[in-house]
């Protein structure tokens, strides 16, 4: 168990380091940062001043090591545009993004798992096929299109929910649904296939031979085993949702981390872009670790070997 965790943690660190390198390289490869920051009207002298001020005159390796060590201590540098610490900028917007992500994941789980279970229990019937068809349609739907459709119907026509901003909890409903839609098909499919396998297994035959109730057979014995891959994918899906929030936050003008990143790209605000990428990568890594831990809690074979 400890070895298992140590291995996972080491892997997580390697992934983070790789992402750091890539996001650093990407911002440097797009051209001379000093010229970009100084703007088209700047003179050669201005550019040189900026280059010195931002430390861009130092060798790349030194810049990289500085950035990584600073990032490790929580210092992500200053935004070129807001003249504020990036750490502050991100942490101020974090609650919106996290609430959005968790709302999306909750909606996705509460929809996908029951539907997946029902489809598996009615495998091969019309109900099963109906549910899976909806999954395919859901997967094919671009989230900006779904977002705009929901805004038009529920925001503008019916006026049930606000179309932008998150002054009240209602503001999270529509973007939450849109985010959830991106995860529902995968989660539903996985729940269904896991449940189909579990329900056909020998231990379910044993559970039935013991005269257990239908609820105990399906929810205790089958779902517990079908849940393991679902947990792993849920974590990854939450990661996708948080990165997908760049689109959603823009459509619904929610001022979260995604919106910040989108703005920063438009404004050549490299420290922010770099940090948002780093933030999303870290979230991915943390979620994957969390999924491993939860799977270890669910599967005794992982815990005791």
């Amino acid at each position: 168990m400890l070895i298992f965790l140590a291995r996972r943690a080491l892997l997580a660190m390697l992934v983070t380091l790789t992402v750091l390198t890539v996001s650093f390289m990407l911002t440097r490869l797009t051209g001379d940062l000093a010229i970009a920051i100084a703007g088209p009207q700047a003179s050669q002298a201005d550019v040189e001043i900026i280059r010195k001020a931002y430390g861009l005159d130092r060798p790349l390796l030194v810049q990289f090591v500085n950035w990584v060590t600073d990032a490790a201590t929580g210092d992500l540098g200053r935004s070129f545009f807001y003249q504020e610490d990036v750490t502050k900028l991100i942490s101020a917007r974090l609650p919106v993004t996290l609430t959005l992500g968790l709302t999306g994941l909750s909606i996705a789980i509460l929809t996908a798992i029951p539907l997946g279970i029902i489809a598996a229990m009615r495998e091969g019937t019309l109900l099963d096929r109906g549910i899976m068809t909806i999954a395919v349609i859901g997967q094919a739907m671009p989230s900006f299109w779904l977002g705009l459709t929901l805004v038009i119907i529920f925001g503008l026509k019916l006026q049930w929910f606000p179309i932008s901003g998150v002054e009240t909890w209602q503001g999270f409903v529509l973007p939450g649904i849109v985010l959830a839609f991106s995860a529902i098909p995968a989660l539903m499919r996985l729940t269904r296939s896991g449940m189909v396998d579990a329900l056909a297994s020998d231990y379910i035959r044993t559970a039935r031979a013991k005269g257990l109730s239908r609820a105990a057979i399906v929810l205790k014995h089958a779902l517990r085993n079908a849940a393991m891959p679902v947990v792993a994918i849920s974590a990854v899906q939450l990661g996708f949702m948080l990165s997908g929030s760049i689109v959603i936050e823009t459509v619904f003008s929610l001022h979260g981390v995604g919106y910040l990143g989108w703005e920063a790209i438009g404004k050549n605000d490299f420290p922010v872009v770099q940090s948002v990428v780093l933030f999303l990568a870290t979230v991915f890594v943390v979620l994957t670790l969390l999924a491993d831990l939860m799977n270890a809690a669910l599967d005794p074979r992982l815990r005791t070997q």
């Binding site: 231990y203 035959r205 044993t206 039935r208 031979a209 005269g211 257990l212 014995h221 005794p300």
Partner: protein
């Protein structure tokens, strides 16, 4: 004569793909006796046992003139009513000890839940009983085993756990579908001895399904020989081993006629050929392609049932002159 504990009459099971797995069989298991259902792989033994418990896969169609347990008709019971019998008065163990326990729960939790389900009470009381039964089936350190997961146990131990779990509610009938087939020979012998002991101690009736004649010779009070969905011969073990009459049974036992001298693990397939697949509208004797005695009458229509001795029945066109020939040894 008092009625048997389990009486199955005219049981038929068909599958969606047209396979007629069980074609009108009758079996009676008396209280406290071991009834062996024997036959080659694919004869419909497992389907029969699952049909009795009403555990058949979806898509299976079961009909019966009657399935009576303790004199009560159970063929028409709802899933809910049937659930009250399963795991309580009638328990079942399976051929696959490695996969029959849920990998996600401890042995103790899986054993306790069946007791709490049928008898109620606290989980602690159920765990006490579980520990006692684990000890009874020969598992050392039962207290520690309760906290273990299936993957930490060998196949033989898992089958012992399955047996102990089946005994949690003091069943009257234990259906054991090839309980030792997946185990190695020494463990097989231990499990069979255990079943015999438990039967004597608890007065358990056992419907033991096997393809192994050695196991039949060792365990059975009564035997039903199954072939392609029919019981072709049945009777008390001594009768059946002493005077195997159906050409199929006769063929199986011809080389080793003395009970107790049969090498265990001897396959039943010593007769050339394989069990035919039976579809709808099949007629005639299903054994005819492999039968040295086959005659034109065997090709179509019903096969008559006959008496070969006290409570000893077989199903064949061969009559009195055949049994007379068998008695003089001329048929060998």
């Amino acid at each position: 004569m008092s009625a048997a504990l389990l009486e199955v009459e005219g049981l038929r099971v068909g599958f969606g793909n047209g396979t007629q797995a069980v074609r009108g069989i009758s079996i009676a298991v008396a209280r406290g006796e071991t009834h062996c259902l024997v036959g080659e792989s694919g004869c419909g033994k497992s389907v029969t046992s699952l049909a009795v418990m009403n555990l058949l896969a979806r898509g299976a169609v079961r009909t019966a003139e009657g399935i009576r347990f303790e004199g009560r008709e159970i063929a028409g019971l709802s899933e809910r009513e049937m659930g009250k019998l399963r795991g309580d008065a009638m328990a079942m163990i399976f051929q696959e000890p490695m996969t029959s326990l849920n990998p996600a729960y401890t042995i103790g939790s899986q054993m306790a839940e069946v007791y709490v389900r049928h008898r109620g009470g606290s989980k602690a009381a159920a765990l006490d009983r579980a520990a006692h039964l684990l000890g009874r089936v020969g598992i050392t350190a039962p207290g520690m085993r309760l906290a273990q997961y299936p993957h930490q146990l060998s196949g033989g131990l898992r089958q012992r756990v399955m047996i102990a779990m089946a005994l949690m509610c003091d069943p009257k009938l234990l259906i054991a579908d090839e309980p030792t087939t997946a185990l190695d020979v020494t463990v097989q012998a231990q499990i069979l001895r255990l079943l015999q002991e438990l039967q004597q101690e608890l007065g358990l009736a056992i419907l033991l399904i096997t393809h192994d004649l050695g196991i039949v010779a060792r365990m059975a009070h009564r035997v039903s020989v199954m072939y392609a969905g029919r019981v072709v011969e049945s009777g008390p073990a001594a009768e059946l081993f002493g005077r195997p009459t159906h050409p199929y049974t006769h063929g199986l036992l011809a080389c080793v006629p003395v009970p107790g001298k049969i090498a265990r693990g001897e396959p039943l397939g010593s007769i050339p050929g394989t069990v035919p697949k039976i579809g709808p509208g099949y007629s005639g004797c299903a054994f005819r392609e492999r039968c040295a005695q086959a005659m034109p009458a065997c090709g179509a229509g019903d096969v008559p049932g006959r008496e070969a001795g006290p409570e000893h029945r077989y199903e064949c066109h061969l009559g009195a002159d055949w049994t007379a020939r068998l008695a003089t040894g001329a048929a060998a």
